[in-house]
């Protein structure tokens, strides 16, 4: 827009004059078009000076226009020498023409105007200091003049503060588009409240004038500052740059794009604080680049803004880059004087450093500037936060810590990546994990070989059915259940007596057993039990052995009978009474005890073993009318010490056996059903009963407190709670025994209740613990937070995956070694039971459930158990080092005390716990969770011999771990260390 002098008062004479001038100009133009060498002088009539002046002005403008179009660059001096009397006019004309050209580059444009419209000077609102506006503001002084009006300093009489008022100038008042823009400015600017943004308070009206009230900033704008002192010192540049980033980020967060960023719109107040002002052409940005007209200042427009009228947060970032450049060098990146120049520059706007950068910080700033000023918006930083991070001193966590505040969850996510692994290290870790995995697989293969699980559960179940048939039970059962178990009493006995390893694997008697149950009705485990296989799974103890017709059978891994329990039915009793041999369709030729001993393969003994009769001592759980017992002794003396003595007890109803036991010295004498020894001992009972309520109460208290203080990250808590709910639900649904019975409903209800409890527990714990973790060790939450926010391609996440998996492999390996070493050396380790998890072998459904459960447990263990301990210790012992040591010692003691080989276990667990603590402190929560996941997975029996029936499960586990580790490696390698993280693309 041009400001022109009020040229002509309107009167008839003036119109006549204008007409005359017009005529002369026409003639001149026609002549000029024919012959460009015509001279102005020829067209000047003999008029008074006052009339000649406007004529000359018009003619000159005309000539300049035409000559410029031809590419000439006329100079004012030549004209001044020709018309010395009109020197002023000539300079004015030149200034106007040039400033028109430049102004259109420098001044904020609101719409396209290819033509320049004659505008007369807009009359000022003419407010004098002292006048009161809207009954509330008293004008103090004028601060400046803008395109839309003037800015005054005023006192707010109501609040007693100094404010700045931006008034719409009179001529602009009546235009509703202007008013609309003002209202828009106020509305948008008001949503941004930030120390680096000039606060806008309100819009007001006084008589017919509208005005905007905003924060009064006692200082000057950046443009005048730079003009005054040139280049700014580096520290100042960094400081202001960070402040600008903060302010702009605040605006972008509210969805507001400024679109007119330039040094003139940056105010520096008395304390040196930068503030963004003038949201006059701002707009709300809703995700798509908008094109609603050419808005902004041409010299600061991004290419897509200038050429395609598309604005987005990236175009603001471009302008930011230019501002940084100006602060650093004192001038605009390019010497642009016309629109063509501008167009050319915008096709390649990236500036190069002018001189050798003196410091690393300066190099970083240049780097940032170049990044911001990329012509393609997609190549620029995806958000202002990325710019801030690239600048030296831009890590939000470091800043938060330096200022003594707790970083917010967003700051944690936005933190810079440090402690990344360089490619060599990453490959090394990967290699360690893979090698460890192979070693573990090898050890397992060896172990399985020794245990001798050569038959699958189904095959063994089929063998059990065959045994039962041979014993006289040939009715198809209503429902079946079966599985593997470990005879812990036997193991303990072996350990205590320092027996050799092959004792364990010696099939007679074995430590790993197969159990089988059948029942005429559905086997519905009505009682939930967390310590067992899963929540609601049928096992040896649930449902209770109480329905007539129920059969429970245990065999070794090859199908030899070890135990039998049958609850006789009425039918069986009647048969027994009648003395019939068996049911009609079965010929029983042998007496029942022979059949039993056949099934137990005790009939034809070798190796000098003898079966001698003795009096029975045990009672069956049901009813029996005949009882027998034997002793298994070795005849020769040499074996007597090595092999323990075994007893055989049996009973029958009629001709059908209902009871059988193969017992050693280790079996508790009167046990007929699963022992329930866990409940004994007053101290133990107290601890068991009390620890959970304490945990719940304490957790709830802390959670409540954190919520009240607004410290918690409720969003992530909700998310993780929901995930764990899903995990619990899925695991239960997959693993539990489902029956086609009305009782299934009860079971589902119980499952739902359990999942809900898990969810509540997880949520409560997260809310209670996470804020303090964020306060004490914010870096440990980086990978975790990013994953929770959905950035699963993030390199920090990858790092945690890789390192956690490797650590998990090592820990699993150590646990295996802990159990196996004593065996190789000549003893038995009773920790064998804790390193094996047989359930994945029971079918694909269960395998899947186990894997999901392992993931869930990984999270639970990592966060809740260990974190809690660590934190408590930290609070008590004050330093990380002491807390870490105490943790290691305490946990090792806790674990080792349960095992016979105390010192060995202590050593191995010590290493494991140290690894855990180091992993946590150095890498983070996510790494620890992954470690636990992998460790749990390594408890699955696996083998390199793929023909084994259970090879699937182990293979699944190995593949899962390998995939996880490879994924971690890939994520780490895929993103170079110095570049931005994928967190930028989301949280920007």
């Amino acid at each position: 827009m041009n400001d022109r002098e009020p040229a002509v008062p309107i009167g008839q004479d003036d119109i006549l004059l204008l007409q005359k001038i017009d005529t002369i100009c026409d003639v001149f133009e026609k002549a000029f078009l024919l012959n460009p060498d015509v001279r102005l002088e020829e067209f000047l009539p003999d008029w008074p000076h006052g009339q000649l002046r406007p004529l000359l002005a018009q003619l000159l403008e005309l000539e300049l226009d035409h000559r410029r179009q031809r590419g000439d660059c006329p100079e004012p001096e030549s004209y001044i020498s020709r018309f010395p009397d009109f020197a002023e006019t000539i300079s004015e004309v030149f200034d106007r023409c040039e400033s028109d050209a430049k102004k259109s580059l420098y001044s904020t444009v609101e719409a396209e105007s290819n033509t320049q419209i004659e505008r007369y000077h807009s009359p000022s609102s003419g407010l004098l200091p002292g006048s009161v506006i809207a009954g509330r503001y008293r004008i103090a002084s004028i601060l400046g003049k803008g395109a839309m009006g003037e800015v005054y300093r005023a006192d707010d009489l109501k609040l007693g503060e100094t404010v700045a008022l931006k008034l719409l100038s009179q001529d602009v008042q009546a235009h509703p588009a202007r008013l609309r823009m003002l209202t828009n400015e106020v509305r948008l600017a008001r949503t941004v409240a930030h120390p680096n943004v000039c606060r806008v308070f309100d819009i007001g009206q006084s008589e017919d004038s509208h005005f905007l009230s905003m924060e009064y900033i006692d200082g000057e704008d950046l443009q005048s500052l730079i003009r005054r002192i040139g280049r700014l010192p580096l520290t100042k540049v960094l400081e202001l740059a960070q402040q600008l980033c903060s302010g702009l980020a605040a605006a972008h967060e509210k969805g507001v794009v400024h679109r007119d960023l330039k040094p003139a719109n940056v105010m520096i107040d008395g304390r040196g604080c930068a503030k963004l002002t003038d949201f006059g052409v701002a707009r709300k940005f809703d995700g798509e680049a908008d094109s609603d007209g050419l808005m902004g200042t041409p010299l600061y427009m991004a290419p897509e803004q200038y050429f395609e009228r598309q604005t987005s947060p990236q175009s603001d970032v471009f302008a930011l880059g230019i501002i940084f450049y100006e602060m650093l060098t004192g001038r605009h990146p390019h010497h642009v004087t016309s629109k063509d120049d501008l167009r050319q520059w915008l096709s390649d706007p990236v500036p190069h450093a002018q001189r050798e950068t003196e410091s690393e910080e300066e190099a970083l700033i240049w780097d940032t500037i170049q990044w911001c000023m990329q012509p393609d918006p997609k190549q620029r930083p995806p958000g202002v936060a990325a710019v801030a991070r690239r600048l030296p001193g831009g890590d939000p966590i470091a800043r938060a810590i330096a200022s003594g505040t707790t970083p917010t969850p967003q700051q944690v996510v936005a933190a810079s990546n440090d402690r990344m692994l360089d490619p060599k290290l990453a490959w090394t870790v990967f290699a360690v994990a893979m090698v460890g995995l192979l070693v573990v697989a090898g050890l397992w293969t060896n172990l399985i070989d020794k245990i001798g699980l050569s038959d699958s559960p189904r095959a063994l179940a089929s063998k059990a059915r065959d045994s039962l048939q041979s014993l006289g039970y040939n009715q198809s059962p209503g429902d079946e259940a079966f599985g593997f178990e470990i005879d812990r009493d036997y193991l303990r006995y072996l350990t205590e007596h320092q027996q050799r390893w092959d004792r364990v694997t010696d099939p007679n008697p074995p430590a790993v057993r197969f159990w089988y149950r059948s029942s005429p009705q559905a086997l519905v485990p009505r009682v939930p039990d967390w310590s067992g296989e899963s929540y609601l799974v049928a096992d040896t103890a649930r449902p209770a052995f109480d329905t007539p017709g129920m059969i429970r059978l245990k065999s070794d891994s090859e199908g030899r009978l070890l135990e039998l329990d049958v609850l006789p039915t009425v039918g069986m009793l009647r048969e027994g009474d009648r003395g019939d041999a068996a049911s009609s369709d079965f010929e029983l030729t042998e007496p029942w005890e022979r059949r039993l001993l056949d099934a137990a393969e005790l009939s034809n003994l070798s190796d000098g073993k003898l079966l001698t009769e003795r009096s029975p001592e045990l009672l069956p759980s049901g009813y029996a009318d005949q009882r027998k017992a034997w002793e298994l002794k070795s005849s020769t003396e040499s074996h007597a010490n090595e092999e323990p003595d075994l007893r055989v007890e049996a009973a029958a109803v009629g001709q059908r056996p209902v009871f059988f036991r193969l017992l050693g010295q280790w079996d508790p004498g009167s046990s007929l059903s699963a022992p329930n020894a866990a409940g004994s001992g007053t101290l133990r009972v107290i601890i068991i009963l009390v620890w959970f309520p304490i945990l719940v109460a304490g957790g709830s208290f802390f959670a409540w407190r954190n919520i009240c203080r607004g410290r918690s990250d409720l969003r992530t808590a909700k998310r993780i709670a929901r995930i764990m709910f899903g995990v619990a639900l899925v695991v239960c649904l997959l693993k539990d025994s489902h029956v086609f019975s009305a009782l299934e409903f009860d079971m589902l209800l119980a499952t739902l209740a359990a999942a809900l409890m898990v969810m509540a527990f997880v949520w409560c714990s997260y809310v209670a613990l996470e804020p303090d973790t964020r306060r004490l060790w914010p870096r440990t939450l980086i990978g975790w937070s990013r994953l929770m926010m959905g950035n699963y391609r993030d390199p920090v996440v990858g790092r945690d995956l890789l390192v956690g998996a490797a650590a998990g492999v090592l820990v699993g390996l150590m646990k295996l070694l802990n159990s196996l070493l004593p065996l190789w050396v000549g003893g038995v380790s009773d920790s064998f039971a804790t390193i094996v998890n047989f359930s994945p072998l029971m079918g694909m459904r269960v395998t899947l459930a186990e894997m999901i459960a392992a993931a869930g447990f990984g999270v639970l263990y990592s966060f809740f158990t260990q974190l809690l301990f660590l934190m408590l210790l930290r609070v008590v012992l004050r330093t990380n080092l002491r807390a870490g040591v105490a943790y290691v010692v305490f946990m090792s003691l806790l674990v080792a005390s349960r095992h016979h080989q105390f010192w060995l276990t202590m050593a191995f667990t010590g290493v494991e716990m140290t690894l855990t603590v180091t992993l946590f402190m150095r890498f983070g929560l996510l790494a620890v969770a992954v470690m636990h996941f992998v460790r749990l997975l390594l408890k699955w029996p696996m083998t390199v011999d793929l023909s084994w029936w259970g090879a699937d499960a182990g293979l699944f586990a190995v593949i899962a771990i390998a995939v996880l580790t490879s994924l971690g490696l890939y994520l780490v390698l895929a993103t170079p260390t110095s570049a931005l993280t994928s967190a930028d693309s989301r949280s920007g």
């Binding site: 309107i10 007409q19 017009d22 026409d26 226009d65 035409h66 033509t115 320049q116 419209i117 009546a174």
Partner: protein
């Protein structure tokens, strides 16, 4: 009446000094209504001025063409001549009605009164009111009259061309190109046209 005159003066001043005027959207709507009216009453007139010797016989051709090309939507500098024309016509109409009602008692001149939608009793108080109301066919006829008269006022044929083209909504640049002169000339002459018309 006084108010109306006042607002008219304001508007004319505004156009004269080349300031932006208010109520851009009002004018937008007004133009479209005018166009709609023209089409209904006068048939679809889409003749365009091709020959520079040929001056548009109907100012409505210009308006219709311009509106259809979408020229009156965005840029304010394109319609100030229009507004001037309409404002002048409105003023003329009000003057007429005033004269008629002062001369006669009772029924006023049919023509004058029905210029304003709603009849004699609802004469607009200001130009804004006027623009906000529906244009009537009678007003359109009056407008044509004004236009013809105003064109007569312009002495130069070039000025008449420029005025016509401007009323069609062409930009200054386009006019300059079509006439083979510089933009400065177009601007200068436009200024003159405005002053001439507003001078009364």
């Amino acid at each position: 009446m006084e108010q109306f005159d006042q607002s008219v003066t304001q508007w004319i001043d505004g156009v004269r000094s080349g300031r932006d005027d208010a109520a851009a959207s009002l004018w937008d709507r007004y133009f479209r209504r005018l166009e709609g009216l023209a089409r209904r009453k006068f048939g679809s007139a889409s003749r365009r001025v091709v020959d520079e010797e040929d001056i548009a016989l109907s100012v409505f051709d210009s308006l219709c063409a311009g509106v259809r090309e979408g020229r009156f939507t965005q840029l304010r500098d394109r319609d100030d001549l229009w507004r001037l024309l309409v404002v002048l016509t409105a003023r003329k109409a009000v003057d007429q009605v005033r004269r008629q009602t002062s001369q006669k008692r009772g029924g006023g001149l049919v023509r004058g009164a029905s210029v304003f939608a709603g009849g004699d009793d609802n004469m607009p108080q200001s130009i804004e009111d006027f623009v906000a109301a529906e244009p009537t066919a009678e007003f359109v006829a009056l407008l044509e009259e004004q236009f013809a008269g105003r064109l007569e006022q312009l002495t130069e044929p070039v000025q008449r061309q420029i005025a016509t083209k401007k009323l069609e909504g062409e930009s200054n640049e386009a006019i300059a190109q079509q006439l083979g002169v510089s933009i400065r000339t177009v601007e200068r002459k436009l200024n003159l046209i405005r002053l001439t018309w507003a001078a009364e």
